[in-house]
Subunit: 113 residues, 2 copies
C-alpha cells in the first residue's frame, strides 16, 4: 500500500454517518438523503452508499449511512463540492428536522466472511 | 417478499453495532471481536461481518460493526447461542474495557451505486 504526502496509507475508505433523528422524521429525511447521495455518486472515486434504517423505533440510531470511496482524497474532493455543501446547509437550516449527524472516515479493522 | 408469523417482512437484515470506546482500548478490543465474529460466522444464515475503525482518534464512534444476515430469524438464533452469550458476558465483566455497544437491526432504506 502506497502513502500520500501526509504519510497516511492510500486505498479504499468507508465513510460512516450515524444519525440521531426522531423516528417520526425518518421518512422525510430519507427522500432528501437519496437526492444528496445521487449527487455524490457522480463524483470520481465514489463506489456506493447505503442508508440503513432501524427495524425498531426503539433503536438509538435510527439511520446509519455506510458509503465506500476509492480513497480519502476522492471523498474529500467530493465533500468540498459547493452543490453538496449547499445541500448540507439546507438540512442544518431546516427547523423541522432535528437531525444530529455523527460522521467519520473508517478503514477495515477486521472482516469475517 | 413473504411475511413471518409476527407480520414482519422476511429477507436479509443488517446488524449494526456502534461502539463508544476510548481510542486507547481499540486494539485490544479488535482482537476479541475477531474471535466472536468467527464464532458467529459458523451460524446458519451468516453472510459477513466487517469491523470499521475510525481513521481519526477524534471521531466520536471509534468502531462500527456492520454484519449481514439472511434473515432476522437467523440472526436471533445465532445471538441466542450460549457460547456467544458467554463471550458477551466476558466483555461486560472486564473492568479494563469501557465499551458501550449500541446495537440495532436494520433494513435498506435507500442505496446508490
Amino acid at each position: 500500500m502506497s502513502e500520500n504526502q501526509s504519510g497516511e496509507p492510500d486505498g479504499p475508505v468507508t465513510f460512516i454517518n450515524v444519525f440521531e433523528i426522531p423516528s417520526a422524521q425518518v421518512e422525510a429525511f430519507v427522500a432528501g438523503w437519496r437526492e444528496r447521495a445521487r449527487l455524490m455518486s457522480t463524483a470520481p472515486g465514489f463506489r456506493d452508499a447505503e442508508l440503513h434504517q432501524a427495524v425498531s423505533a426503539e433503536t438509538r440510531f435510527q439511520l446509519v449511512n455506510v458509503a465506500h470511496w476509492e480513497s480519502r482524497q476522492a471523498w474529500e474532493a467530493a465533500t468540498a463540492n459547493p452543490d453538496f455543501q449547499d445541500a448540507i446547509r439546507t438540512i442544518s437550516a431546516d427547523p423541522q428536522q432535528q437531525v444530529r449527524p455523527n460522521t467519520g472516515l473508517y478503514r477495515t479493522a477486521a472482516r469475517v466472511d
